[in-house]
C-alpha cells in the first residue's frame, strides 16, 4: 500500500517524521527503576530490579560481571485480537533475547560482579515498533534506577515506500501492508549499531539511505528522551533541595 499523495502517510505524517513521544520516569515505587513510554499508539511499561543477589541457582553467577535477565511480555489486550500467551511463546523469547543483546552493550556490567539485573518490559498497546519502544523504555528505566550505562540505547524502525521514499518510525498498518521493515538499535552519540534486523527485502542500493534515516530517527528520539530525563532529575532534585546522598 503506497502512502497517500502528496507525500503524506496514512496517519498524516511526513516520511521523515516520528510519532509523538510521551514518557514518564519513576512510575512505580517498588522496582528500583521504572518508566512508561508512548510512541504514537504503542504503549510500553518497563521495570528494572537490581543489581541484587542472584536468586535461584548461584552457579549462574558470573565472577567478573553482572547477569542481565530480560523479559518481554505483551498484555492480552495489547493487540487487535486477544493474545493468548502473554509470554513464553517463541516470539516473546526471541524479543527478550534481542532486548538483552541491545542492553548488554550499554550497561557497565563489570562494576557489578556476581549480581543480577532484571529488566521487565510489558507492552500495553502494540501499534508497530514494539521492539523499539521496549528498548527505549528499558533505557529510561535503567537511568531511573541509577544503573551506570555508557550512553543511551535507542531503537528506531524504517521502511521504503514505493521503492524510493524512506519512511521513519512505521506503524502497525504500514508494517503489515507488505513493505520492508528495518529495525535498528544503536548508540546515537557514538553511532555504533548494536542490533540490525530486517524483514521483506529491497535492493541493496537503497540500504544506505534507509539506514541513514533510521539512525537519524534514533538521534531525534534520543533528544526527546534526554529532555525527559533532565526534567525528571531537576524536579526530583529540587523537591529534596539537592540533599540526596548516594555513594
Amino acid at each position: 500500500m503506497s502512502p497517500l499523495s502528496p507525500g503524506l502517510r496514512l496517519d498524516g505524517r511526513r516520511p521523515n517524521e516520528l510519532r509523538k513521544i510521551r514518557c514518564k520516569l519513576g512510575v512505580f515505587n517498588q522496582p528500583d527503576g521504572s518508566a512508561y513510554l508512548e510512541q504514537g499508539n504503542t504503549k510500553v511499561l518497563a521495570a528494572v530490579y537490581g543489581p541484587h543477589e542472584i536468586r535461584g541457582s548461584r552457579t549462574k553467577a558470573l565472577h567478573d560481571q553482572a547477569l542481565i535477565n530480560c523479559q518481554y511480555s505483551m498484555a492480552t489486550f495489547s493487540t487487535g485480537e486477544r493474545k493468548r500467551r502473554p509470554r513464553g511463546d517463541r516470539k516473546s523469547i526471541e524479543m527478550s533475547i534481542h532486548l538483552r543483546q541491545a542492553l548488554q552493550a550499554v550497561i557497565k556490567t563489570e562494576l557489578y560482579a556476581r549480581s543480577q539485573i532484571d529488566i521487565f518490559v510489558e507492552v500495553l498497546q502494540a501499534d508497530g515498533g514494539n521492539y523499539c519502544t521496549c528498548v527505549n523504555a528499558a533505557t529510561l528505566a535503567l537511568i531511573d534506577a541509577g544503573i551506570p550505562i555508557t550512553e543511551y540505547m535507542v531503537a528506531c524502525t524504517a521502511s521504503l515506500a514505493n521503492g524510493e521514499t524512506p519512511l521513519v518510525d512505521i506503524s502497525h498498518l504500514e508494517e503489515t501492508s507488505g513493505g520492508p521493515n528495518l529495525t535498528v538499535a544503536a548508540m546515537p552519540m557514538s553511532g555504533q549499531i548494536v542490533l540490525l534486523e530486517m524483514s521483506q527485502r529491497f535492493h541493496l542500493d537503497h540500504l544506505d539511505k534507509v539506514m541513514k534515516h533510521a539512525l537519524r530517527g534514533c538521534q531525534e528520539i534520543k533528544a526527546v528522551l534526554d529532555k525527559a530525563v533532565r526534567d525528571h532529575v531537576a524536579s526530583a532534585g529540587a523537591a529534596c533541595n539537592w540533599e540526596f546522598k548516594t555513594d
Binding site: 550505562i149 555508557t150 540526596f244
Partner: protein, 295 residues
Amino acid sequence: MPPTIRLASERVELRKVQDDNPPKIYTPGEVVHQGTDYLRGHGTYLDEDCVKSSVAGICQKINKWLIVRPIKKRYNGEVGDVVVGRISDLQMKRWRVDTNARLDSILLLSSVNLPTGELRRRSAEDEATMRKYLQEGDLICAEVQQVFNDHSLSLYTRSLKYGKLGQGTLVKVFPSLVKRQKTHFHDFPWGTSAILGNNGYIFIYPTSQRSGKEGDGYKEDAEETITLEERENIARVRNCIVALAHYKQMLYDTSIAVAFEESKKYEITQLLTPEVMAKIASVAQQSLLQHSRNH
C-alpha cells in the same frame, strides 16, 4: 473505608520549588570534563581522554575526583552505617542478610552476642544451634563492620543497641532519601521510636519495648501486647514516611516529626489519599526550607 477510584491524569503533583540556581545535570554519555587532570569517580567513566557521565545526576568535585550522583541508586555500604536487614539464609558459621544492596550482606557467627552474654570462642555446638538465635525471616539491626572487595558488607551486632528486632513495622524507601546523621535511633515524643537504616529500611516500634530490653538482644517479646494507641501512632508514622518518600523529601527525625504534627489533623486512613500525602509533603518541605535558610 470505601475504595477510591481516580484517573491517572488526576495525579496530584507537588508544587514546584523555586530553584534560584539549579546545578548542572549530566545524563549518560555526556562529557563532564575534557582532559585527564581529574580522576574519574563513581558515576563516570573514561572514554578517550574525556570523563563522561554514566548516570543521570549532578556532578561533584571532591579534591581531584569527579563524581556524578544519581537520585536513586542501590545501597552501597560504608563502614559504620546502621542498617536494618532480614535474614535470608543460614550457612556455615554465618547468616546471609538482605539489606537492599547489590549483594547480600554477611553476619558472621563471631559478630553476634551469645544469648547467655558470655565472651568465649564459638564452638561447634554454637554452630549447630545457630537457628535458635536467628532464623530465616527475622529482622535485625546491625552496623557495617567491613566492606569486602566485591562490595558485600560484613555486619556485626555486638553492641547492646543492635540485635534482633521485636514487634514493629518495616517501611522500605529509597536509600538516598535517608539523611546521614550522627545517630539513627530516634525516640519521638509521642511514644514511638524509629531506626532509620542507611539502606532505606526503616523500622518503627513502640518506645516501651526498647526500654524493657534486657541486654542480650534476643528476647523477642512476642507475648507482650502493644496498646491500641501505640499501634495507631506507629501506623500514623508509617503513613507519614510513605507520604514523604513518595514526594522525594529527605527523611530524618525533624522531617518525620513535622509531618506527624501536620498529619494529626487527618484520620490515619485519610493519610493514604494522594491529596493529603501531597499536603503533608509540602508542609514538611516548606518548614525544612525555612529551617535551612535560617542556618
